[in-house]
Symmetry: C2
Subunit: 247 residues, 2 copies
């Protein structure tokens, strides 16, 4: 897994974006993610790719007994310890690929917008299964398959989208071509992994997860009023959310 958040240029740009109140995380991702969460009272929570700890702090405030947040980026963990310190929260600088090193069980494994950085999804889900109590929940968001499908062409004249008469067209070539995507996001060469629904759903199912709820993101009227460009998020969803229970 690429440790892009410890690249100073990227990290500065990212924090700058997140510091603005009007961003897709605050207006679109967070409200949907929180709508999927039950009460955390007396529960044990593991947050994968916790970033600067917003979700861990939310879980503690909601009454969690213990919260563990992990992130590959030391920058993020340092920031989390400062701005989202909590008596019941431990932050670990650990990549998601190494969660098999954690020796305890949790009631909930959460992950907000981080799974698309992981190459081996099957291994990740198997590791999560081992960290959950029976009937425990995995609740995660990631970039939506129709948003990650596009492979940037070497011929820079070709764009991933085209606007014609106020309608937006998306290049969906390679939707069924799961794998690495190297894209420009703040800096060049940010590595993500595209997986279609077939890969996501079947990996969960094969590992005994029952999908209880799935949500594809949309921008509501308020979000579009605050940031008109979010109307394009309704063309095709940008985030995917899944709540799955270990059978």
């Amino acid at each position: 897994m690429q440790n892009i958040y410890d690249n100073k240029e990227f990290f500065d740009d990212y924090i700058n974006m997140r510091n603005k109140e009007i961003n897709a995380n605050n207006l679109i991702e967070k409200p949907i993610f929180q709508s999927l969460l039950p009460s955390f009272k007396d529960k044990k929570i593991l947050d994968l790719g916790c970033g600067f700890g917003d979700l861990c702090k939310f879980a503690e405030n909601d009454g969690a007994r213990k919260v563990v947040g992990i992130d590959i980026s030391k920058n993020m963990i340092d920031k989390a310890k400062k701005i989202n310190y909590g008596e019941k929260i431990s932050y670990l600088n650990l990549p998601m690929e190494k969660i098999n090193e954690i020796n305890e069980k949790f009631d909930f494994v959460l992950s907000s917008l981080a799974f698309h950085y992981v190459e081996n999804f099957d291994k990740l889900i198997k590791n999560i299964k081992n960290l959950l109590v029976p009937n425990g929940y995995l609740i995660f968001s990631q970039e939506h398959p129709v948003a990650t499908a596009f492979i940037p062409p070497k011929n820079k004249k070709i764009d991933s989208k085209i606007d014609i008469e106020n309608k937006r067209y998306y290049l969906l070539s390679d939707y069924n071509n799961n794998g690495k995507r190297s894209i420009h996001w703040n800096i060049d060469g940010v590595v993500k992994y595209h997986r279609n629904f077939t890969a996501i759903i079947n990996t969960l199912s094969e590992n005994n997860f029952i999908i209880e709820k799935l949500v594809e993101s949309y921008a509501d009227e308020e979000a579009i009023k605050l940031e008109p460009k979010y109307k394009y998020q309704n063309d095709r969803p940008y985030f995917l959310f899944i709540k799955a229970k270990l059978a």
Copy 2:
């Protein structure tokens, strides 16, 4: 539900298309659908939107104890009785909206490429649930959400897809706008219903179905060799298949 298959012009065009051996049903849909089917030996099968009975005959040949095929189109049922007659098969001229009139239970409910004609998906799934034995299976295919999303514009200059430098772009506006789509397919005014993954998966989950397998269609090399235009089916899937078990 529109009874388009009893429109003579549509039916003739449709049968003409299906009579060709090289079509998307034979090359793409059928092989994937059949790969999802377990043995039908001694099982009771209900096929919703059975058309001219290919799948019913397949189930009988595979050892099913009893097969019931229903279809809204009398044309189709008449043809099924002729070309796919079977001692263990009953064909009924019944729309899918009325399966609550059937008073028996089945081990498998199947449906190939018909659910996108049904307006009320929740009612359909509730009715199917009542027709299944505990741990019974629903196995269906339908048009894929990215293929049904498009709303044909009144301004005919706008197309649903654009080819640029050998890449194809799709208009995905209204992906999150579930509902009626009136399209041209053989004739004008064919009515289908678009549902995104959110709607499909949550309706199944809310009705106690566990999704065991999901497949998005693709064209393999052989299919593309027989019909080069199928390469575009790999840009974005055209069919969606779901195998779900009643908990």
